[in-house]
């Protein structure tokens, strides 16, 4: 019983800030109306965030599914080197290569571009995603695709018709991690985007703290917090099982 008292007290401490933020934002519904008109309009920022998340999730799934298949089923020169190079991304702190990435994206004509930002997110997701997908493909029995290959399917048909459906849970886990990372990240868009119209939600909502005429609109700010947090909370609660699998897979150990 004492255990449950402790647990309940802790749960209150952990849930209180979330509940308060929702309450503070809804206390005056006008908070949301002011937020809707903030800067370029919250619609613009939300659209940017959705675009970046969709491109990041799509790109991560595409690259890691193809790559995971290659690493699980094929032998090719440079295979080990490429795998190690991908895992090395985990060793290199994110913040230390954003400055050169800013310059590099400029060379590629992708400065201040949502596409460029999404590509950077795909790169940061790749070690985890590739590791997950390779393990998922390895655990699919070879007989399954060999039957399809004998029936005259090419490897790509076997991949898309037989293997991809078999690794669906891993795809959901990888997609969920990619969504949470790209939707929430603040540092990369802060550095890689420099025009208000292309800001994502975190950068736009943080800019509310600089206030107008020295006063910060705290109600509007919490409305911004809710708009950012709610999709993540809902997705997490619905897909919790898939999220926890990401931890159990050992992929974090890289």
């Amino acid at each position: 019983m004492r255990r449950y008292t402790t647990l309940s007290a802790l749960a209150v401490l952990f849930l209180f800030p979330l509940l308060w933020s929702g309450y503070a934002s809804l206390e005056k519904p006008a908070n949301y109306l002011r937020m809707a008109e903030y800067g370029e309009g919250v619609g613009t920022y939300a659209t940017n965030s959705v675009l970046v998340s969709v491109m990041t999730v799509g790109g991560t799934l595409l690259v890691s599914a193809l790559g995971g298949y290659a690493f699980a089923r094929f032998d090719f020169p440079g295979k080990n080197l490429l795998f190690l190079a991908t895992l090395a991304i985990l060793m290199v702190p994110y913040a230390t290569i954003l400055i050169p990435l800013y310059v590099l994206l400029g060379y590629l004509g992708l400065q201040n571009s949502l596409v460029g930002l999404s590509l950077v997110f795909v790169m940061f997701q790749l070690p985890f995603a590739l590791f997950m997908m390779r393990n998922a493909f390895e655990s699919v029995p070879r007989e399954l695709e060999e039957a399809a290959l004998v029936d005259g399917c090419g490897t790509f048909r076997a991949f898309s018709r037989i293997l991809l459906p078999a690794v669906r849970p891993a795809l959901i886990t990888v997609g969920l991690f990619a969504f949470l990372a790209s939707w929430n990240d603040f540092f990369a868009p802060l550095i890689l985007l420099n025009d208000g119209a292309s800001f994502t939600l975190p950068v736009a909502v943080v800019s509310m703290t600089s206030g107008t005429f020295g006063t910060v609109d705290y109600g509007m700010l919490q409305a911004g917090v809710v708009v950012m947090a709610l999709p993540c909370l809902i997705l997490f609660i619905v897909l919790q099982r898939h999220y926890v699998r990401g931890f159990m897979s050992g992929a974090l150990r890289g």
């Binding site: 849930l15 308060w20 933020s21 503070a24 929430n184 997490f236």
Partner: protein, 294 residues
């Protein structure tokens, strides 16, 4: 077509196919990871303004680091922040994990409750605390006043020590569940039989914890420590958003100095040199920790 020819062309084509499937990975890793790694070193050897041409000036960007008082202070501050955060975060995460490790009714709810702040983005979490700790707008000051604990508004981010304290509270709230989840994977890998054997040998709860749980949890604890130390040394969002480095630059982290050098002082070469130093330091530290702890 002879059998052996067919066989070798099939093998050849499987090699090519393997490469084709791996090609997108190779392009992303090559262009967006290997190239910037090379570029950051090259940039650090040049005077590289935000706008305009770069000129070779090695090793000026490195020699001026020692004369950058903001960076030297930020190293000390970041190390202090990392030490405090890692100790408190490990203790809290371990406590939470032990409380929810056994399958009992309702445990699923508590696990979710502890993790839920981790689903919220860190920027959103920092803004949440920014409002929550505001004396006029947030609920914390009124609650403390009602309980008779304070008489006047608390300067949550108004003094260097309070700013550090508030930031660490934010970080604990946001990351405790994440680290709890990591530790749970380790706890669940300990076979039940080991506990049963210890109990039948008459071991008490504390003995079981120090003699069985902690040693068997060591690899997982090591992973958690490495993630926590690395994450704390790279702290940026919490200080940029929540304290804005203040008061009086007392909460400026190392990554904040890199950001300021690049985008306020327009000195990308200097920022690149700091990045290289930080990168080398962290890779070295990670290697050391992995050897020592595992």
């Amino acid at each position: 077509m002879t059998g052996s020819f067919r066989h070798s062309s099939l093998r050849h084509s499987r090699k090519t196919q393997g490469w084709l499937y791996a090609a997108p990975t190779a392009v992303i890793v090559g262009v967006l990871f290997v190239a910037p790694l090379v570029l950051v070193v090259w940039m650090s050897l040049n005077r590289w303004p935000l706008l305009g041409p770069a000129t070779l000036n090695a090793p000026d960007n490195y020699t001026k680091i020692a004369g950058n008082p903001l960076f030297v202070d930020s190293v000390l501050f970041t190390l202090k922040y990392t030490a405090i955060t890692t100790v408190l975060l490990s203790a809290l995460a371990l406590g939470l994990a032990l409380l929810v490790q056994e399958r009992r009714p309702g445990v699923g709810f508590f696990r979710t409750a502890f993790f839920l702040p981790g689903a919220v983005g860190f920027a959103a979490a920092a803004l949440l605390f920014y409002g929550m700790l505001n004396a006029d707008f947030g609920p914390i000051d009124p609650i403390l006043r009602t309980l008779g604990l304070i008489d006047e508004p608390v300067k949550w981010i108004g003094t260097p020590n309070m700013a550090l304290f508030s930031t660490i509270t934010l970080v604990l709230w946001r990351f405790a569940g994440f680290n709890m989840l990591i530790l749970l994977t380790g706890l669940q890998a300990i076979p039940v039989e080991v506990y049963e054997a210890a109990r039948s040998d008459g071991a008490g709860r504390w003995q079981i914890f120090t003699r069985i749980t902690l040693p068997l949890l060591r690899p997982t604890l090591a992973l958690m420590l490495i993630l926590s130390v690395t994450g704390s040394l790279l702290a940026f969002d919490q200080f940029f958003i929540f304290t804005n480095g203040g008061p009086d630059n007392s909460t400026v982290s190392m990554v904040m100095v890199i950001y300021r050098d690049a985008f306020f002082r327009f000195d990308l070469g200097g920022a690149a040199a700091l990045s290289v130093v930080l990168l080398a330091g962290l890779v070295g530290l990670n290697t050391l920790m992995m050897r020592r702890l595992r």
